[in-house]
């Protein structure tokens, strides 16, 4: 299919998942953030808004692009590093 859902897109990428997250969110800082741009900007749609106003991040399918880090308006809310060598996303055709 040429028109694809986000789930179908994500199924085409390959990930080697580490047991610890390379990106850690301080949810308390997200509660005071009114715009939370990470939620819409993430190309893998990995940021989930929670009822208490904080944000949950699913690191397993991360493209490591850095968009969330650069759009985040709350200093220190996102601890961002690359995954351990050899882990994370592996592109084959892009």
């Amino acid at each position: 299919m040429v028109m694809t859902t986000h789930e179908e897109k994500m199924r085409t990428a390959r990930f080697k998942v580490d047991d610890t997250a390379h990106i850690v969110i301080d949810g308390t800082k997200c509660r005071s953030c009114s715009i939370r741009p990470c939620i819409t900007v993430c190309p893998a749609d990995l940021f989930v808004p929670l009822d208490d106003g904080s944000v949950l991040f699913n690191y397993e399918q991360c493209f490591e692009c850095g968009s969330c880090y650069f759009v985040c308006p709350e200093k220190g809310a996102i601890q961002w590093t690359y995954p351990r060598g050899g882990y994370g996303v592996t592109f084959r055709e892009s």
């Binding site: 299919m1 040429v2 028109m3 694809t4 986000h6 179908e8 897109k9 994500m10 085409t12 990428a13 080697k16 715009i35 741009p37 819409t40 900007v41 190309p43 893998a44 749609d45 493209f63 490591e64 692009c65 850095g66 968009s67 880090y69 650069f70 759009v71 590093t81 690359y82 995954p83 351990r84 060598g85 050899g86 994370g88 996303v89 592996t90 592109f91 084959r92 055709e93 892009s94």
Partner: protein, 442 residues
């Protein structure tokens, strides 16, 4: 690495993309002891581009007839620039069999980065560079004076010493920031690209894009394709697939609250695109940031013991006419390699010697090209160029070509009416004409 001794290299290069592998190739050929570090499982595993590679002549100087052995897709002899409104498209179609377009060394090639980068890094290895994959560099090693003397990798006993460290660690360069050479980047200076590789039969590609043999095409789009987000889109022909994607300025994506993958679907559904991708199958979805502000976002390029090249140095030319990065990455990697070779010969790794990098970059046209088009990125991201002019072009041609029995009008009144419909003031147009002239003409 035995007996707990810290390993030492003449040159350590971080990142095996086109910049890093070019630097590794040239320094290894000069007889230096070179370490090329890559965090992916293989070079290219983390890399995403459109991609058209316009650096064939550069690479041909290093590896004669490189395209005969490298994993290339198609050589680009057709280009199209398309302005789009929701239902209409207006384009400039270029096709050439002139010298340089259809025979060696060719003007540009479509490539798939995981394959191309892997091949290119292997050339650096063949020249004698040591390639270390699956290894992430977390920090720089410094001596008491602050000079960079190596890198810290995320492994046991993770210290590696080197006389010169070349940071080719991509757009999101932690090393350039940790060295204090680059600031945190602004969301205005970055674009997020989302891309799909869509599998399509080779014969269908040839027929649909009017190509013969291994000819290829590169199409770039501006206008309603990104809705109100500042950006653009592209479609490139590979051998048995299409690479297509949408770019959106990060600040603009946030402001408009648009999800990048939704824009990609809107793009594919446009009547001008839908017919080109029809019948294809999604092979891979990917995303990457692009340093698009050009001259205005270049970091300080060297310090004691360290150089910055490629996307890490924001060497990307995004002017609308030119959308090039891989060639500048390669040129800057070669320039950094030349500066490192000079430093090693003189046994002087201070910033005074490494400053020669700037001269090498200028000789290789990296800084001169970026400086010449320094006004283009800002103009490209202006509201009117992004949304109004494509709309204006589409609407005026819709009126020009429509035959509805009401009598025809000449061009000036027709454009005047369209201008008024779209709400653009003539003084704005004059201002933009000046901006275009300043950005592109002299």
């Amino acid at each position: 690495m035995t007996n707990g001794e810290v390993p030492h290299f003449d040159v350590i290069i971080v990142g095996a993309g086109p910049a890093g592998s070019a630097a590794a190739l040239i320094t290894a050929r000069a007889g230096l002891k070179v370490l090329l570090i890559e965090r992916g499982e293989y070079p290219g595993a983390k890399n995403v581009s459109g991609a058209v590679f316009y650096g064939s002549a550069i690479l041909n100087d290093l590896i004669p007839n490189w395209w005969e052995q490298a994993p290339i897709e198609r050589y680009v002899c057709r280009r199209e620039l398309v302005m789009i409104s929701p239902k209409t498209s207006v384009s400039l179609d270029f096709r050439s069999a002139a010298p340089g377009y259809v025979e060696p060394p060719f003007n540009g090639f479509t490539i798939l980065r995981p394959k191309f980068d892997r091949w290119f890094a292997a050339q650096a290895e063949a020249a004698g560079a040591f390639l270390l994959t699956s290894t992430v560099v977390d920090d720089l090693l410094r001596d008491d004076s602050g000079r960079v003397i190596g890198v810290k990798v995320r492994r046991d006993q993770g210290e590696i010493r080197g006389d010169v460290v070349i940071a080719c660690d991509g757009v999101n360069s932690w090393l350039a920031r940790k060295a204090g050479l680059q600031r945190d980047l602004s969301t205005h200076a970055l674009s997020l690209g989302v891309k799909e590789v869509i599998g399509l039969d080779e014969a269908v590609i040839r027929e649909r894009f009017h190509l013969t043999g291994n000819e290829g095409m590169a199409v770039e789009y501006v206008g309603a394709v990104t809705e109100n987000v500042h950006g653009g889109a592209f479609l490139y022909t590979n051998r048995e697939s299409l690479s297509l994607g949408v770019l959106g300025q990060l600040s603009s994506l946030v402001e408009q609250k648009k999800r990048p993958y939704d824009l990609l679907e809107t793009f594919k559904a446009h009547p001008a695109i839908a017919q080109l991708v029809r019948g294809g199958t999604l092979r891979e979805y990917s995303a990457h940031l692009i340093p698009e502000a050009g001259w205005g976002m270049i970091p300080r390029l060297f310090s004691d013991g360290m150089l910055v090249a490629g996307d890490a140095a924001a060497f990307c030319l995004a002017t609308g006419i030119y959308i090039e990065g891989i060639n500048y990455a390669m040129q800057s990697g070669l320039a950094a390699g030349e500066a490192a070779i000079m430093a090693c010969r003189r046994h002087d790794f201070s910033r005074r010697t490494l400053a020669n990098y700037v001269g090498f970059l200028t000789q290789r046209h990296v800084l001169t090209d970026l400086h010449a088009f320094r006004h283009a990125p800002k103009f490209l991201n202006s509201e009117r160029l992004q949304n109004l002019y494509p709309e204006l072009a589409a609407r005026s041609l819709e009126m020009l070509f429509r035959v509805d029995g009401r009598g025809k009008r000449k061009l000036v009144p027709l454009y005047w009416q369209t201008l008024r419909q779209t709400g653009v003031k003539p003084r704005h147009v004059l201002k933009d004409v000046y901006q275009i002239a300043r950005a592109y003409l002299w």
